[in-house]
């Protein structure tokens, strides 16, 4: 028999009280772990999507808008490019200090050209980079190969009345239609998409690049640093981070987390209060028992220790069970919050157990101090 065992035995004697004490902690930790775990998964999903859905940096030639007019009469404007991008610039991008963070650098070349009698925009890109740069594209048929094949945007296919297996001619060259792009809602729906070499050939610009899309692995890295380094490497280019969508998603996750943590804090505070009230009630109820323990030679520290062990056991069991239920709830709810691959997040669970233990022990301090300060005189009046 030691104090630990004495505490354990006493809990079994007062099961309903122990359950009630633990309930507050269980609910608080369950809520906290579920929300923390869910937000962690949502943040991970946002980061994964950011990486998976390709470019987060766009490199274009620097241009300036020149307004044309005379006096108060505006005659529109025009853009003047300071320089043009070329294939050589890809090497410069890949040579920056944070090059190990670059997952892909994809050159695009755009030109307007005839397509079987209709003037359409041709977009050229390396066929091998489709899966990296446009993973959301879906085709009827297949993506284009490196040379002599094209993919038609859905609107372009309708305008040309062509489908997979058909042909498109431009400037005397014939291209086989490998596939038709499913509608994306973007401008490529009206384009002819082909290998960058073919499109450059049509434009007569063998090394031209209209823009680069750079995908940086930006988990916890400042994308601005990469942007700055590319800007330094290409002084004639305009380098900008595509962050809007990601930032708005992140902001939504942040708001959800703040709300969740607020709710958790309230539930945890109630849990702490429940511990305080039940342990205080237990001390009142056990005045006689505490008196006997003091009479047989228990020091104040031993009484404190007894009560802390009792609450410690309850806190540990309720925190662990709350954390497990929280993790399970987060995994079940994850698909509803846009997380495709739900995973158990253990850090919030470990943190939750630590918080639950701390909460239980903090809630025990005032009643335990009262019990320890209980004079045997007071206690023995009931003996």
């Amino acid at each position: 028999m030691n104090i630990r065992k004495l505490a354990w035995k006493n809990l079994f004697r007062r099961k309903s009280r122990a359950v009630f004490t633990g309930l507050g902690i269980f609910l608080g930790i369950g809520t906290f772990v579920a929300i923390a775990s869910l937000t962690a998964q949502m943040e991970q999903a946002v980061r994964d999507k950011l990486d998976r859905y390709g470019a987060n940096i766009l490199v274009t030639p620097r241009t300036e808008d020149l307004s044309l007019g005379f006096g108060d009469i505006a005659l529109g404007g025009t853009q003047v490019a300071h320089s043009r991008l070329t294939t050589a610039d890809e090497k410069a991008i890949r040579g920056i200090g944070m090059k190990e963070r670059l997952r892909s650098v994809v050159p695009f070349f755009m030109t307007a050209a005839d397509a079987s009698g209709k003037n359409l925009v041709w977009m050229g890109m390396p066929g091998t980079e489709i899966a990296t740069a446009r993973p959301w594209w879906k085709f009827t048929g297949a993506p284009f190969g490196e040379k002599g094949e094209v993919v038609l945007g859905s609107e372009a296919a309708a305008a040309l009345d062509k489908g997979p297996g058909g042909t498109v001619t431009s400037k005397g060259k014939t291209f086989r239609v490998a596939g038709v792009l499913h509608p994306t809602g973007e401008k490529e729906d009206g384009m002819v998409i082909a290998s960058i070499a073919d499109v450059r050939s049509l434009a007569g610009s063998p090394v031209g690049v209209t823009f680069f899309e750079v995908a940086a692995l930006c988990k916890d890295c400042p994308v601005e640093d990469i942007v700055a380094q590319i800007g330094d490497a290409l002084p004639g280019a305009r380098v900008s981070a595509i962050r809007q969508v990601v930032e708005s998603r992140k902001a939504a996750v942040d708001q959800f987390r703040k709300l969740g943590l607020g709710v958790s804090a309230i539930v945890l505070a109630i849990g702490g209060l429940m511990v305080f009230v039940t342990v205080m009630g237990s001390v009142q109820e056990r005045t006689k028992e505490i008196g006997v323990l003091r009479a047989v030679g228990f020091r104040r520290k031993a009484i404190l220790s007894l009560l802390f062990w009792e609450t410690g056991w309850v806190s540990l069991l309720s925190s662990v069970s709350g954390a497990l239920v929280g993790v399970a709830a987060a995994m079940l709810a994850a698909p509803l919050f846009g997380v495709e691959m739900a995973e158990a997040a253990f850090f919030p669970a470990i943190l939750g157990v630590a918080i639950g233990m701390a909460l239980g022990l903090l809630g025990t301090i005032p009643p335990a101090r009262r019990a320890a300060a209980l004079s045997p005189t007071e206690a023995i009046r009931s003996l």
Partner: protein
Amino acid sequence: MNPFIRLENVSMLYGNNGVSAAALRGVSLSIDAGEYAVITGESGAGKSTLLTILGGLQVPSSGTVLMKGVDLSSLSADRLADFRRETIGFIFQAYHLLPYLTARENVMVPMSPLRTGAREKASLADGLLSSVGLSGKEERLPSELSGGECQRVAIARALVHDPSVLLADEPTGNLDSATGEQILDLFSGLHKAGKTVLMVTHNRGNLMRATRSIRLHDGLVAEDRG
């Protein structure tokens, strides 16, 4: 030779809402080691108060309590707890066993804060239970024991730290006369073994076994027969 216990002019006042009542009024007495003293008196005479003061559970309003030469009022709460554990064994009328613990575990309770091994504690508890005639009942809960058996467990618990003095408050008060006699036999045996025994009692039969009888009346020693 210094007495084992000495009370010098001990008074105890209980106050409530400005009204105070004296439970003890200037009691002075000495008890030598190895005495078997019974304290008698009518209800409200101050018997239990005297016992709790002797046990260091209460501090008197005035006066001095010396046990083994130690002034109990000079000790801190924790030192007093240590002193109680090492020197005094308490036995209560209502046993005050912890109902969720077995007989063995109840006997082991005073050893809970100590770092002694579990087997050693259990072995000591079993030995004490055997010495009070409870062999084979170590695993029983208080609810599975008779009143006399519960009191035996309480006596075994009081003996755990081999105290010099046993303070018993009406130990046979809740027992039938036959069982009460058995418990008193136990006390006689402990006294013969060298323990100092102080017992508060209403039972006149106890006087026959004691070496000394102290009668309290209205908080004063009315009679002290050695």
